[in-house]
C-alpha cells in the first residue's frame, strides 16, 4: 500500500505541474512523473523481498530485473529533463519568456504565400 501511495502522489504532483503555464514548471512536472515511473517499475518487482540482489547476499533477495529497468529510466529522464530545460533556455533567448502559451501567433510562411497568390 505504501508503494501505491508513493506512486499515486508522484503522479498527481507531476500531472498538476505539466498542466501549468511555463515550460519550467512543466519540466519539474516531468521530473516528478519520472519518479512516479521509476517507483512504479520498482514496485512491480514486489516490495516484500527487500534484500540487496547481490549474489551471496542473505535473506529474500529483491527482484533485480525491475531495478535494472529503473536505473536506466532514471538516467534517461535526466537527459529528457536537461533537454526540456534547454528548450526553456532557448525559448527565453528567442522569445524573451518561457510561457509557451503566450507565444507565437504566427502564420506559417507557406500560408502567407497562398494568401498573396489568391489576390
Amino acid at each position: 500500500m505504501t508503494a501505491a501511495i508513493i506512486v499515486g502522489m508522484l503522479a498527481a504532483g507531476g500531472t498538476y505541474l505539466i498542466l501549468q503555464r511555463g515550460i519550467v514548471r512543466m519540466a519539474l512536472g516531468f521530473v516528478l512523473l519520472g519518479h512516479a515511473a521509476t517507483t512504479l517499475l520498482v514496485a512491480s518487482g514486489g516490495v516484500a523481498r527487500r534484500a540487496v540482489p547481490f549474489i551471496g547476499a542473505e535473506g529474500d533477495l529483491a527482484d533485480p530485473l525491475p531495478q535494472a529497468f529503473a536505473l536506466t529510466a532514471i538516467v534517461i529522464s535526466f537527459g529528457i529533463t536537461a533537454f526540456l530545460l534547454t528548450l526553456a533556455f532557448h525559448g527565453r533567448d528567442v522569445l524573451g519568456h518561457d510561457d509557451v502559451e503566450a507565444s507565437v501567433d504566427e502564420v506559417p510562411p507557406i500560408d502567407r504565400d497562398a494568401q498573396e497568390g489568391g489576390r
Partner: protein
C-alpha cells in the same frame, strides 16, 4: 546495363558541383557529353529491343519487402530514354551558355537538371510499379527545386509541385491496388494479367487514379494551370521539363498501361474527349498569349492533349502516331524554348508586343525557330508534318465507335488550326516585321543546341522511313500488334492530307486576320485554374489549422488534457470492475515506509505550491532524495545511488538554467488551478489504485530468479543489477545510452547552432566586447571552493573510476561512475567558472558522448566478430593473473556517455547572463587575459530579465 546507365546519370549529378568548381559553366558540356554517350550506348545496345527482346537488369533492394530495382527496356522505354538523354544533353549544353560565366546559380541548376535526367530515365525504365512511383516523385521533387530556383518562382513552383504531388499520390494508390489485385509489383507481370484485372471490382478506381496521375503530370484539363505557372523557371528548365520530358511522363504512363485498359470505355472516352478538349483549349489560349513562354506553355498543353487523345484511340496506328509525335514534339518544342531563351537574353523581353524583326540580328536563331515553327504547324517536309498526318489518319480510321473517331478528327483539326495560327504568330511577330528592340547578336555557342534540335526535326522528316522500326516496335509493345506503318512524306491524296489542307487554309486566314482575332479574343475570358487552385489550397490549409489547433505545441495543457482524461476514464473503468481477491495478497509494508510517504507528501506539496524558482528547486531536490531513500528501503542500492547523483546533477542543472529564467512563476488563473487539481488528483488516484491492485501480489519474477541463480556463472559478476545492464540486456542499455547521446546532441545543436548565439566561439573570433562579457560567468568566487576543487577533483575522478571498475561485483557501474565524474565537472564549473570549461580542449560533449557510444558499439561488434553474437561478453585474462569481464568495456562506454551528457549541459547551458565579472585579482583569471577585462557596459542583476544578451 540499365542499372549502370541510371547510376551513371545520378553519379554525374553528384559529381556536377565539383565539375562546376573545376570548369565553371563549361561543366555543362561535359555533362552533355556524358548524357549523349549514355544515350548512344543505350541506342546501340538496345538494338534487340526493336525486334521485341527487352533488355532487363535487376538487383534486390529490400528483399524482405519483395522490392527490387528491376529495370526493363522495351521499344517504348528506349524511345523515351533516348528523348530524355538526347534532349538532356542538348539542354545541358544550352545551359552552359545560358548562364553567364561565374553565375552562382550554374552549379545548382546543372546538378538538379542532371539529377532530374536520372530520375526521368529511371521512370521510363522502371519495371516495378513501386520503383516507378519513387522515380515519379523524384521528378516532382527535383522539378520543384528547379522551378523554385532562388526564390523568384516559389508560387509557381508550389502550384506545380502540389498539383503533381496529387497525381503522385494517385499513382501510389493505383500502384498499390494493382499490386494487391495481381499479387506482384512487377510491371511486366501486372501488364500480362489483364484478364484478372478485367474481373476485379476495383478496376474503375485504378483507371481513375491513373488518369488523375497522368492528367496532373501532363497538364490536362482541368490541371493544366500549373504548367504556364511553372514558366518562371529559367529557360533551360522549361525546355527540359516542360517541353520535352517531365510533362511526357504522363504520356509514358498512359502508354505503359494501355495494354491493361485498351477497349475499356472508362479509359478510352475520358482520354479521347478530355485530351482533345485540352488540345483545342490550349491552342485557343496560346493564340492570345503575348508572353512567348506562356504561349509555348499553352501550346505544350495543347500538344499533350493531342497525344492523350491518340493514346485513348489505342489502335496500333494511333499508338505509333503518338510515339512519333512525342519525338517530333520534343524536338520542335525544345528548339522553340531555347530560341525564346536566346531572344529573352539578347533583347531583354519576351513580350510579343515589344518584339519584331529579329531575323536581321539573330539570323541563326530565326532559322532554328522557323524550322521548329514549321514542324509544329505540321508543314512538310518536317517531322511534325508526318506525325500530324499519322495522327489524323488514326482518328479517321477508328471504326468502333465511329462517332468517336469523327468527333476526335474534328477536334484535332480545330486544334491544329489553332496550332498553325499560333505557330505563325510566334515566328512572324518575333522575327519578321519592324524591329522594335536593340538586340545583341547571340554567340554561336548559345544558338548551336537549338540548331541541332531544329536540324534533327528537319533531317528526321526527310529520312522518316528510318523511324519505321522504332514506332512499329512501340506500337507492338503497347498493343500487341505492330502498326506495320511505312512512314513517308507523301502518302497520296488521302483524307488526312485533305484535313491538312483545311488546317493550312483556315489557319492561314486566321493569321492574315490576326489583328481582328486578337481583338475578338480579348472579349472572352476562360476559367482560371490558378484561382481555383489557390482557393482550394487556402481552404485545405485552414481546415488543417483547425484540426491542428487541438494539438498545437504552444498550448500543451490543451492537448495533454484529452490524453490525461482518457487515461483517467479508462483507468477508473477498468479498475472498478476488478476482483482484487483473485489477484493475490496485497504487497506488505513496513512501518518505516510511512516515514517516506509523509516526507514525500510534504515535498511534493512544496514543489506544486512553490511560487519562486528557488523554492521549487529546493523541494524538487528533496523529493528526489526522498525517492532515493525509498530505494534504499527496498533493497536497491544501485538505484538509490544513481538517484542521488542524478538529483544532485539535476539541481546543479536547474540552478544553472534557472538563473536565466524569471525568479517567480507565471500564475495561472483560478479555473486552471481547479481543473489541473481535479485532473491531477484523479490521475494520482488511478495510478495509486493500479499500483496497489497490480503490483507486489506475486513472488519474484521467473527471469529475475534465473538471473540470481545463474548470473554469476554466466557473467562472472555478482552485482546482478549491473550484469543485467551490461550483459543480459546490454542491447537495451545500448538503446538507452543512444537516447542520452541524442538528448546531449540536441542540447548542443539547440544552443550552439541556433541563430541566436549567446556564446562567442571558443576560437576567440568574436568581438572583444562579447568575450569580456562571458568571462568568469557561472563561478562561485570562493577560495574555499577553489581549494576544495584542487584536492577533491582528482579524488572524485579516482573514485568514479573505482565505482566503474567494481560495478560488476558491487554497487557501482558505468552509470554511477559516470555521474560521479560528472559531479566533478560540475564542481570544476562552480569553482573555476564557465570559461574554464568552455576553453577546455577535451571537455567536449560530442567527444565524450560519441566516444562512449563508439566504445560500446565496438564492444558489441567485437562480440559479433569473436563469438558471432552482438554484445556477447567474455572474460579476459590479463597479465598477473587478473581477470576482467569483457563487459567492462561496455560499461566504460556508458561512463563516457554519461559524462558527455553533463558536459553538454554545462558547456552549452552554463554561460549564464550578463553580470559583473569576478575580481580578476582574486580568481586568477586576470593573469590569463590581463588588461583585457574592462567593466561591462550593460550590467543587470543576475536574476533580472535578460535584457541584453547580444550586442
Amino acid at each position: 546495363m540499365l542499372t549502370v546507365a541510371v547510376a551513371v546519370v545520378f553519379g554525374l549529378a553528384s559529381a556536377t558541383p565539383l565539375l562546376v568548381r573545376a570548369f565553371g559553366r563549361n561543366a555543362g558540356y561535359l555533362g552533355a557529353a556524358v548524357l549523349a554517350g549514355t544515350g548512344g550506348w543505350l541506342a546501340v545496345a538496345g538494338g534487340p529491343v526493336l525486334a521485341g527482346e527487352a533488355v532487363v537488369s535487376r538487383f534486390d533492394w529490400v528483399a524482405a519487402a519483395g522490392l527490387s530495382v528491376a529495370l526493363r527496356m522495351d521499344a517504348l522505354g528506349l524511345l523515351f530514354a533516348l528523348i530524355v538523354l538526347g534532349i538532356g544533353a542538348i539542354v545541358l549544353a544550352y545551359a552552359a551558355r545560358y548562364f553567364a560565366a561565374g553565375d552562382v546559380r550554374i552549379g545548382r541548376y546543372l546538378t538538379l537538371l542532371t539529377a532530374f535526367a536520372g530520375a526521368m530515365l529511371g521512370l521510363v525504365l522502371a519495371d516495378d510499379v513501386l520503383l516507378l512511383f519513387v522515380f515519379w516523385e523524384l521528378t516532382s521533387v527535383t522539378s520543384f527545386f528547379l522551378i523554385g530556383g532562388l526564390g523568384e518562382g516559389r508560387q509557381g513552383a508550389l502550384r506545380a509541385f502540389l498539383t503533381t504531388a496529387l497525381g503522385g499520390l494517385a499513382l501510389l494508390g493505383a500502384a498499390v491496388l494493382l499490386s494487391v489485385v495481381t499479387g506482384t509489383s512487377s510491371l511486366t507481370e501486372i501488364l500480362s494479367s489483364a484478364p484478372a484485372l478485367a474481373d476485379a471490382g476495383v478496376t474503375p478506381v485504378i483507371i481513375v487514379l491513373l488518369l488523375l496521375a497522368a492528367g496532373t503530370k501532363s497538364a490536362q484539363l482541368p490541371f493544366h494551370f500549373w504548367l504556364p505557372g511553372a514558366m518562371v523557371a529559367p529557360t533551360p528548365v522549361s525546355t527540359y521539363l516542360h517541353a520535352a520530358t517531365m510533362v511526357k511522363a504522363g504520356i509514358y504512363l498512359l502508354l505503359r498501361f494501355t495494354p491493361l485498359f485498351a477497349g475499356n470505355a472508362g479509359w478510352q472516352l475520358p482520354l479521347v474527349l478530355g485530351g482533345l478538349a485540352t488540345a483545342v483549349f490550349g491552342a485557343v489560349v496560346a493564340l492570345r498569349r503575348t508572353d512567348l513562354k506562356a504561349l509555348l506553355a499553352y501550346s505544350t498543353v495543347s500538344q499533350l492533349g493531342l497525344l492523350v487523345g491518340l493514346i485513348g484511340i489505342g489502335t496500333p496506328l494511333a499508338i505509333a502516331a503518338a510515339a512519333l509525335h512525342t519525338l517530333a514534339h520534343a524536338l520542335f518544342k525544345a528548339t522553340l524554348f531555347m530560341t525564346v531563351g536566346i531572344v529573352d537574353h539578347e533583347t531583354g523581353t519576351r513580350d510579343l508586343r515589344e518584339l519584331g524583326g529579329l531575323r536581321r540580328t539573330l539570323p541563326t536563331t530565326a532559322l532554328a525557330a522557323g524550322l521548329a515553327a514549321l514542324s509544329m504547324s505540321g508543314l512538310p517536309p518536317l517531322l511534325g508534318f508526318v506525325s500530324k498526318e499519322e495522327a489524323f489518319a488514326s482518328f479517321v480510321e477508328l471504326g468502333d465507335p465511329a462517332w468517336l473517331g469523327a468527333t476526335a478528327g474534328l477536334l484535332a483539326v480545330l486544334a491544329s488550326i489553332g496550332t498553325f495560327a499560333y505557330s505563325a504568330r510566334f515566328y512572324l511577330r518575333t522575327f519578321e516585321g519592324p524591329e522594335r528592340t536593340h538586340p545583341h547578336a547571340a554567340p554561336i555557342g548559345f544558338v548551336a543546341p537549338a540548331l541541332v534540335t531544329a536540324a534533327a526535326g528537319l533531317g528526321l522528316g526527310l529520312v522518316v522511313p528510318r523511324l519505321d522500326a522504332l514506332v512499329n516496335a512501340v506500337s507492338r509493345d503497347v498493343t500487341g500488334t505492330s502498326a506495320d506503318l511505312h512512314l513517308a512524306l507523301w502518302h497520296g491524296l488521302e483524307l488526312p492530307l485533305v484535313m491538312s489542307f483545311v488546317v493550312v487554309a483556315v489557319g492561314g486566314t486566321l493569321v492574315s486576320l490576326r489583328e481582328r482575332v486578337e481583338r475578338g479574343q480579348a472579349l472572352f475570358r476562360g476559367p482560371s485554374g490558378e484561382r481555383a487552385f489557390d482557393r482550394t489550397y487556402a481552404a485545405v490549409l485552414a481546415f488543417g489549422a483547425r484540426i491542428g489547433r487541438s494539438a498545437s505545441s504552444d498550448a500543451p495543457p490543451a492537448y495533454l488534457l484529452p490524453v490525461v482524461a482518457v487515461v483517467l476514464v479508462v483507468g477508473v473503468g477498468l479498475t472498478s470492475r476488478l476482483d482484487l481477491g483473485a489477484l493475490g495478497d496485497p504487497a506488505p509494508w513496513l512501518a518505516s515506509d510511512w516515514a517516506v510517504v509523509v516526507l514525500l507528501a510534504a515535498c511534493i506539496a512544496g514543489v506544486v505550491q512553490a511560487r519562486s524558482r528557488l523554492a521549487a528547486v529546493a523541494t524538487l531536490g528533496l523529493t528526489g532524495f526522498t525517492v532515493a531513500g525509498w530505494f534504499v528501503l527496498l533493497g536497491a542500492p544501485d538505484l538509490a545511488l544513481t538517484q542521488l547523483l542524478v538529483e544532485t546533477l539535476t539541481m546543479a542543472l536547474v540552478v544553472v538554467v534557472f538563473r536565466r529564467l524569471p525568479t517567480s512563476f507565471a500564475r495561472g488563473g483560478r479555473p486552471r488551478k481547479v481543473t489541473a487539481g481535479v485532473i491531477a488528483v484523479g490521475v494520482g488516484t488511478v495510478a495509486g489504485l493500479a499500483t496497489y491492485a497490480f503490483t507486489g501480489r506475486r513472488g519474484i519474477s521467473e527471469v529475475g530468479q534465473r538471473f540470481l541463480n545463474e548470473g554469476e556463472g554466466l557473467t562472472g559478476g555478482s552485482n546482478v543489477v549491473n550484469t543485467i545492464l551490461v550483459d543480459f540486456r546490454a542491447l537495451d542499455t545500448l538503446g538507452e545510452i543512444t537516447v542520452v547521446v541524442a538528448a546531449a546532441t540536441a542540447i548542443v545543436a539547440l544552443v550552439r547552432f541556433s541563430e541566436e548565439r549567446a556564446v562567442p566561439p571558443p576560437d576567440g573570433s568574436a568581438d572583444v566586447d562579447g568575450i569580456e562579457r562571458w568571462d568568469g560567468i557561472g563561478m562561485i568566487d570562493s577560495p574555499i571552493l577553489r581549494t576544495a576543487n584542487l584536492f577533491l577533483a582528482p579524488l572524485m575522478i579516482v573514485v568514479s573510476l573505482w565505482l566503474l571498475v567494481r560495478g560488476h561485483d558491487a554497487v557501482g557501474g558505468g552509470f554511477i561512475g559516470g555521474l560521479t565524474a560528472g559531479a566533478t565537472v560540475v564542481l570544476l564549473y562552480f569553482s573555476r567558472g564557465h570559461q574554464r570549461i568552455w576553453q577546455s580542449r577535451w571537455l567536449r560533449a560530442l567527444l565524450f558522448t560519441g566516444g562512449g557510444l563508439l566504445i560500446a558499439l565496438a564492444y558489441g561488434l567485437g562480440g559479433l566478430v569473436l563469438t558471432g553474437t552482438f554484445l556477447d561478453g567474455a572474460k579476459l585474462v590479463l597479465p598477473f593473473g587478473l581477470e576482467v569481464a569483457g563487459s567492462l568495456m561496455f560499461d566504460i562506454g556508458v561512463y563516457g556517455v554519461v559524462i558527455g551528457m553533463v558536459v553538454a549541459i554545462l558547456r552549452h547551458l552554463g554561460q549564464g547572463i550578463v553580470e559583473e565579472p569576478p575580481n580578476p585579482e582574486r580568481t586568477g583569471l586576470g593573469a590569463r587575459r590581463d588588461g583585457e577585462i574592462v567593466a561591462p557596459q550593460a550590467v543587470t542583476t543576475p536574476s533580472g530579465p535578460a535584457t541584453e544578451l547580444r550586442p
